[in-house]
Subunit: 143 residues, 2 copies
Amino acid sequence: MNPLSGKINLDFRSSEPIYLQIAQQIQQLVMKGDLKLGDQLPTVREMATELRINFNTVSRAYRLLDETRLISTQRGRGTYIWEEPDEAMKQKLRQKGLEELALRYLKEAGKLGYTPAEAIETLKQLAQSGQTSLSDEDQQEER
Amino acid sequence: MNPLSGKINLDFRSSEPIYLQIAQQIQQLVMKGDLKLGDQLPTVREMATELRINFNTVSRAYRLLDETRLISTQRGRGTYIWEEPDEAMKQKLRQKGLEELALRYLKEAGKLGYTPAEAIETLKQLAQSGQTSLSDEDQQEER
DNA sequence: CGTATTATTGTATAATTGTATCATTGATTG
DNA sequence: CAATCAATGATACAATTATACAATAATACG
């Protein structure tokens, strides 16, 4: 069994592309310590089969992480955790991830006809009212 | 201890295939005089074990060098330095090596969206500003 | 010695793994 | 509706590894 079997949960209904979902979740697993330096990730084909997607999509996620030097992909050999990000890096990655999420939120809101200002306002109110269950328990897989 | 133990440094993250890295570095060692006519190279398995790669990858590097007559591989016997390149040959090899590096640089820059002109400009500036530590001290091994 | 046996060395071929390129699809935009 | 673009898929490819093999050397034994 590979090290992150069942730990990647995709939401095929999300507008978030699945290659980003994969990349972000792997990033989080590293930051949580579930994946450590030197660990081998599943091959693109393994993971693709498990997630029932094309292996090129996994490859794209891996390439993204390779560019940030979080992992190392080696043709013919496999893919490995390359560096455990230091605090600064973690912060940067978190920031970047957040920004992507934020951008998507605004974009989606825009589709629904809301201005950024409106989207922000709604967000604020939501944050104040329902302060329960906003933490990160494991989510259910969707498809 | 074999004659080039620790003298081959691989970068598994490079897009340069490791069989080429090996071949080029052996070539350089011969040109530098670290390897002389008649010297035996480590067996494919020895070197593979040291570098933590498959011996077929070493074999491929050896085959490459065998084809240029720099070394002689003999099944069941081993691998030996075959001829020390004369000055003309050395010059040619150095030139070829540099061209390969240049090509690679441009290719990588291209992937990042830079035109050759931009890549060249950046290179120029870099060369002017930081003229320190551009020599060839031994590099750190990567994985 | 001579020969059989075993170990050592490089080689050939197929399987595995990531990559590059182009095609398809579905949504967005004008 | 056509054009366009991003995400995903299909296909062919390149690097590396796994496995079985062939040639040579080293050793054992008569």
